[in-house]
Symmetry: C2
Subunit: 403 residues, 2 copies
C-alpha cells in the first residue's frame, strides 16, 4: 500500500525564492574536482582567517570552567561581547553605544531583521544595480517591489534614484545600499552622495539599510564617514555589520546598529527567527576582541588584499587590456569587469570552469539581469601567483568561447 501524497500550496513569496544564476554557478562549481582558481565566492582568504588565535581563545571561551557558553544567550547578544565590541569600535567610523547594538547571526540576519520590521508586501525597496544578491533576495522574500538604481565609480547614482522614484510615483519604504567597496562592483559611495542620499531619504521618510561589511578593509585612499556617522543618531539609518569579512564567516556573528527604540522589536523578531545567536562563537569573538587581536589582524589582511588587488589589475591589464574595463576598489574583496566588445558571461561560465577558473556572472547581481556582459571577481581569497594564473585561464576561456 502506498501512502497518499498531499499536494501543498506554497506561500506566494516562494515564487521569489526560485533558483538564481548564483545557484547554478555554485552548484556547478561544487561538482568540479579539478584544479580551479576560485574568484567566485566572497569568502576571506583561508590564510586570512585567524585560525590560530580563534583556536586559542576558544580553548578559554569553551573550557569546562565556562560551562554556560553552551547555554542560550540573551537574544540581544551576550553582554561581554557587546561591551568588547563597543570598546573595539571606539574611534572608528562605526563608533557606537551599547544601547544601539544588537548581535545578529551574521550580517544576513541584520538584513532579514530590517525587512521584517519595515517591509510590507508590495512596498517599494530600492537596490543598487548591480547589488548584493542575498540583499535583494531578502527584500523579495518579504514581497517587496524592487527598483534598481545604477551604480557608477562614486557608488549609487543618487540623481538617478531621485528620477526613478519620481517616475515610480511613490517613495521607497527602504533604500538598500552597500556603500563601501560595494559587493559586487567594489566602488564606494562618495561623501557628497552620502549626504545627498540621507537628504532624500529624510525627505521621503525612507529607511536607509546601510549594509557595510567591508568598510574596515580599506587599503587605499582616504576614509569616508559611514552613513551611520553621518546620520548622527537619526533613526533613519539601520546599519548592518558583520564579523564575516573581517574575522571569519563561519562564526555567523554580526550586529545591527540602530535607534535604541527599535531594540525591543529587534529582540522579539529575532526570538521568532533563531532565539539567539550561537554563544560559543560570541565568546570566541569576545576573547578575540579583548585580547586585542583585531587591530593587528586587520593591518595584516588589508596589506594582503591590497597586494592581491594590484596583482589582479596587472593581470587584467596584461590579458584583457583590449577587451574589458574594470573597477578600481580602495578596499574590500571585489573587482567588477565589463567586457567590451560584449561577452556572454553566463555562457562563458562553463567554459571558464573547464579552463580552471570560477567567477560569478554579472546577471546574478541584478533581479532584472542587467549585466550579461559583466562578471565579479573576488581578489581577496587567492594569492598573487594564482591570481595571474586564474586571469590567464579566464582569457583562454574567452578566446575559446569566441572561437
Amino acid at each position: 500500500m502506498t501512502t497518499p501524497t498531499t499536494s501543498l500550496p506554497l506561500a506566494a513569496r516562494a515564487d521569489d525564492l526560485v533558483g538564481s544564476v548564483i545557484d547554478s554557478s555554485t552548484s556547478l562549481l561544487a561538482r568540479q574536482s579539478h584544479d580551479i582558481v576560485r574568484f567566485a565566492m566572497g569568502s576571506p582568504a583561508a590564510e586570512a582567517i585567524p585560525t590560530r588565535a580563534l583556536a586559542e581563545v576558544s580553548a578559554t571561551a569553551l573550557g569546562v570552567h565556562r560551562p554556560d557558553s553552551f547555554d542560550y544567550a540573551a537574544t540581544e547578544g551576550d553582554m561581554p561581547l557587546r561591551e568588547a565590541l563597543v570598546a573595539a569600535l571606539e574611534g572608528t567610523t562605526d563608533a557606537t553605544t551599547l544601547d544601539r547594538v544588537t548581535i545578529t547571526s551574521g550580517g544576513m540576519q541584520g538584513l532579514d531583521l530590517a525587512c521584517k520590521l519595515f517591509v510590507d508586501p508590495g512596498d517599494l525597496v530600492t537596490v543598487e544595480s548591480p547589488t548584493y544578491t542575498n540583499g535583494s533576495a531578502t527584500a523579495l522574500s518579504y514581497q517587496a517591489q524592487l527598483l534598481e538604481v545604477p551604480v557608477d565609480q562614486e557608488g549609487m547614482d543618487v540623481d538617478a534614484l531621485v528620477a526613478l522614484v519620481d517616475h515610480a510615483g511613490r517613495t521607497p519604504k527602504a533604500i538598500y545600499t552597500v556603500p563601501t567597496f560595494q559587493n559586487p562592483s567594489g566602488t564606494s559611495l562618495s561623501l557628497a552622495r552620502r549626504h545627498q542620499l540621507l537628504e532624500v531619504a529624510r525627505e521621503w521618510g525612507s529607511l536607509v539599510i546601510d549594509d557595510d561589511p567591508y568598510g574596515m578593509l580599506r587599503f587605499a585612499g582616504e576614509p569616508v564617514p559611514s552613513l551611520h556617522q553621518l546620520a548622527d543618531g537619526d533613526p533613519l539609518v539601520f546599519s548592518v555589520r558583520t564579523f564575516s569579512k573581517i574575522v571569519a564567516p563561519g562564526l555567523r556573528v554580526g550586529w545591527v546598529d540602530t535607534d535604541p527604540s527599535l531594540q525591543r522589536l529587534l529582540i522579539n523578531a529575532k526570538q521568532a527567527m533563531d532565539t539567539c545567536t550561537n554563544l560559543p562563537a560570541q565568546r570566541m569573538l569576545e576573547g578575540f576582541l579583548r585580547e586585542g587581536y583585531l587591530a593587528e589582524h586587520l593591518t595584516r589582511t588589508r596589506a594582503a588584499y591590497h597586494e592581491r588587488k594590484v596583482a589582479m589589475q596587472q593581470a587584467l591589464t596584461e590579458h584583457f587590456g583590449d577587451l574589458a574595463r574594470w573597477t578600481d576598489p580602495e578596499g574590500g574583496f571585489f573587482l567588477w569587469v565589463t567586457f567590451d566588445p560584449a561577452v556572454d558571461t553566463e555562457a562563458l561560465f562553463e567554459v571558464a570552469l573547464a579552463e580552471g577558473v570560477a567567477y560569478i556572472p554579472g546577471n546574478a547581481f541584478s533581479p532584472s539581469r542587467r549585466f550579461p556582459d559583466a562578471l565579479r571577481l573576488c581578489f581577496a581569497s587567492t594569492p598573487p601567483p594564482r591570481i595571474a594564473e586564474g586571469v590567464a585561464r579566464l582569457r583562454a576561456a574567452v578566446d575559446r568561447l569566441a572561437g
Copy 2:
C-alpha cells in the same frame, strides 16, 4: 545644531511583535540578584550539558589543522554533520535519509522556514492552546491568523480542531503542533490522535508543522511513533528538530526533515536569513555524534529528568494537593499547573520572585491569554532538593498573594 529626526513607519507585522507576558517575566527575572529557584526557562540543566565532551571535540573540530571550520558552510548544512546525524537517527522514531535533512540554526529557524515557505498573510494557522510562544510568534510574524485548539491529557484535541475549522469556514494552511512532551503542558499526542490529525490534514491539504524537540527525552511510558514516521514520506509533514534540548541550546543547531523536493527552496530561503548555520558548532556536533557521545548522554539525562519530575510532583502534592492539579509528563522538561480555586498567576509572578522562585505565567502560552490560572514549571534544570525548596517558596507566594 541638532540633526533632524525621521519618523519611520514600521511594517504591519510589527504590531504582532510587541512585548508579551514572557518579555516582562524574563526581564523582571534578569533584574533579580538574590537566590532564585529557576523553574522558568526551558533550558537543559547546566550539569546536563556535556561541556567536557564538547570542549574535547571542539579541540579537534576547531584545531589549526581544520582551518575551514571558520569558513562559510554549505547552506543545507555541513555534509559530515548531515551524514553523522542520519547515522545517529537510525532505528529511532526520527530515522531519515540524507536528502530529507537540512541543517538549521536551532529548531526556531525550522519554524521560521516552514512559515516562510507556506504562510501567506491572512492564512489560517492552528496552534495548540496552550502553545509554544515562539512558535505562535513566528506564525504571527508572517501575519497568519491564529486559531487556538485545546490540549488535554492526550495532546491536541483533534475533534475540537475539526469543529473549530468547521466553524471558521475555511481550512488551515498549517497545523502547528508540539506532539511529544508538549511545551508547555508536558502532555503527548496519543497514537490514535496522531492518525486522526494526519487524516484531517490530508483531507484539508494542510501542512503539519511537527515541532518535536523533546521526543528523545522519554523517561517513562511506551514510545509513540513520530508524525514524521506515520506520514511515511507524505510531504504534508514538515518536521522540525533540534540539538538544543538533547545536547546544548547555545550551539544553535537543529534540522528540518522534509520532502526532498523542498530542499532547493529551503536553501534559498535560508540564504536570505543567515546564509548558513555556524560551522564550528556543526563540527562540534559532528564530533559528538561520531564519537558516540549522544546515546550515553541521553541515557544519563533521561534518568536525571525523570528523578526531577518525580521530585516536583511529590513537592506539588505536599504543598498544593488541595489547591491545584498538574500534568504527568512521560518525558521532556515541563509540568503544567492549573490552580483551583483560581490564582492570578501574572499577579503571583512578582510575589513569587520576591519569595525566590520563578516560572512562566500561563497567559504567555496563549495569544488570546486563556490561562490566567495556570503556570508552566520546568523541572529539568533544577536538582531535586532545590525543586522541593522552590515549590515550597511557590506555596508561600500563593499564601502571601491571598492574604
